[in-house]
Amino acid sequence: MTVPTASRKKFSTRWNSFQAREARLAWILILPTAIIVFSLVLFPAAFSVWISFHDVGLNNLNEVFNAPYVGLENYRKVFDDFAFKFQGMQSWGAAVTSIIYSFVATTLTLLIGLLAALLLNRPFRGRGVTRAVFLFPYVAPIVSVAFVWRWILDPRPSGVLNDVLMRLGVIELPQAYLATRGLALLLVIFFEAWRYFPFAMLMILARLQAIDSTLYEAAKVDGASTWQQFIHVTLPELRYVLGAIFLLRLMWTFNKFDDIFLLTGGGFGTKVLPVLTYEFSFKLFDFGRGAATAMILLVILVVFMAFYIGVVMRNPEED
């Protein structure tokens, strides 16, 4: 680092040293961002823990800090709620539904993303435009795509899926797909895969294009088929990026509210923890119980992430 000579003569105290001035400038530059993020993300996150142990409702929202302490009462209420707890195969409850939904949707997203990336990794005319089109589901506003799919899955005979399946003779009467227990969850999972595969695709594609082509040449010399090349060259090279996408997507899917809320409103066996949190807080206006639900969601997520990063993502060769 260079030190302007004029200022070195003028100031000699530590306060005015170049490093100190640089550090002060850095803090001034980052302060607005830090204040916004701390006051609107990190403080609320901590405050949320506090709310989950207190009885906060619409009546005492204006004097939140005087809300009565109720200990684990909010958590007990959540665990006892029929919408939360597992009650057999007919009614999974939000916790189990959330976990199954996130895992299946993430896996499917990853598989479809891998397929799309393999397709686009081949050179062909119009590849650039095709890649842009493949991004549409991911970048289009959630409200638009959710409502288009609801309109395609419309229960009336004028719904596209009903019409197609009736013409093919698969069904005789129109079905209410998003209002059928089981099917609704499956369709929501398909929707997630349709919407979020482009993210996986882009990450995988970037990694695919960085694979050393001599690896494939060596495999060909050894007489490996296309499938063997995929299993023994491509997949091992993709291992880390697949692991990272799985973690990110799982986290985001687990936290996702909009998609299910807009598609089914959380009905017909698709009630996940974020939707339950919303219902407790903004339908029943029991903010304490809502916060407790959100905390349970966060704890499940953190425990899984710790396990995943510690066990699954660890490289056995490093030990």
Partner: protein, 304 residues
Amino acid sequence: MVAQSNNKESKNFIQHLANWITVPRFIFAAGLIFFLTSILFPFYWMISSSFKTRAEIGAREPVYIPSALRLDAYKELFDPNNPSFQDFATNIFNSMKIAIPTALIAVILSTFGAYAIARLRFKGKNVLLSSILMIYLFPGVLLIIPLFAMLAQIGDSIGFDVQDNLSILVFTYLAQTLPVALYMLTNYFRTIPAEIEQAGLIDGCSRFDVIWRITLPLAIPALVSVAIFTFMIAWNEFLYALIFLNNNDLFTMPIKINTIYNNPSPRPHVVMAASTIMTIPIVLLFLALERFLAEGLTAGGVKG
């Protein structure tokens, strides 16, 4: 892709196709067609439904190709003389009033922050950076409860409304977009060689001169892409707007579309027309700037 059918010397098109097609090529073409139809059909359905009449929408069978480009749905959205006028123009403006300031402020603040992180040495940098990136972990529904309670409290003592206040929404969107913007810009600044700036400092420029005249012009592509992503996040956002807005005149587009959808008399063509208006700008942007924006997506430009 398509066999060259204009080569008429000896074989016809079918023979050419038969020669061209091999098992891998067939699988490849079939895969591509499957992906393209399942991606494009919903978008086609959205746009075509928006040009249908109420009769076509309510028909016994779906109308795959509208009989004409009828503007019934758009008239309902924009024509004040229509019996079920929705005043959608106001909602478009509301969305812009939120998305443009969010994008501008996010770019300015994250430029400052990213410059500090990429170029300057100071204590607590790593702690600060990792706590800012923690936002990736917190679900929106977790933050909305304390935010609502907190802002109601502050609003009560200072005297502003938490509900139906567009500036409050801008602040909450900033909190969501700043970490991503900071991360993307920091990475970009690190690719600009520090020597260029040091040369400027030696020539007697001040820090701000250096940032303003050297670093920023070099970072314009990254600044534009951050602006587009933050604009998009604010433009598409649903949950916070749903909770913070109650007044019809202040609804952003997503909330308005949700309201029209949940109207007791279903009017899918109007919902599709409004969705088309909201979607087209974003989709065109990506079609035009795909090469440039795809990188931002993999850097987490859109969280979710």
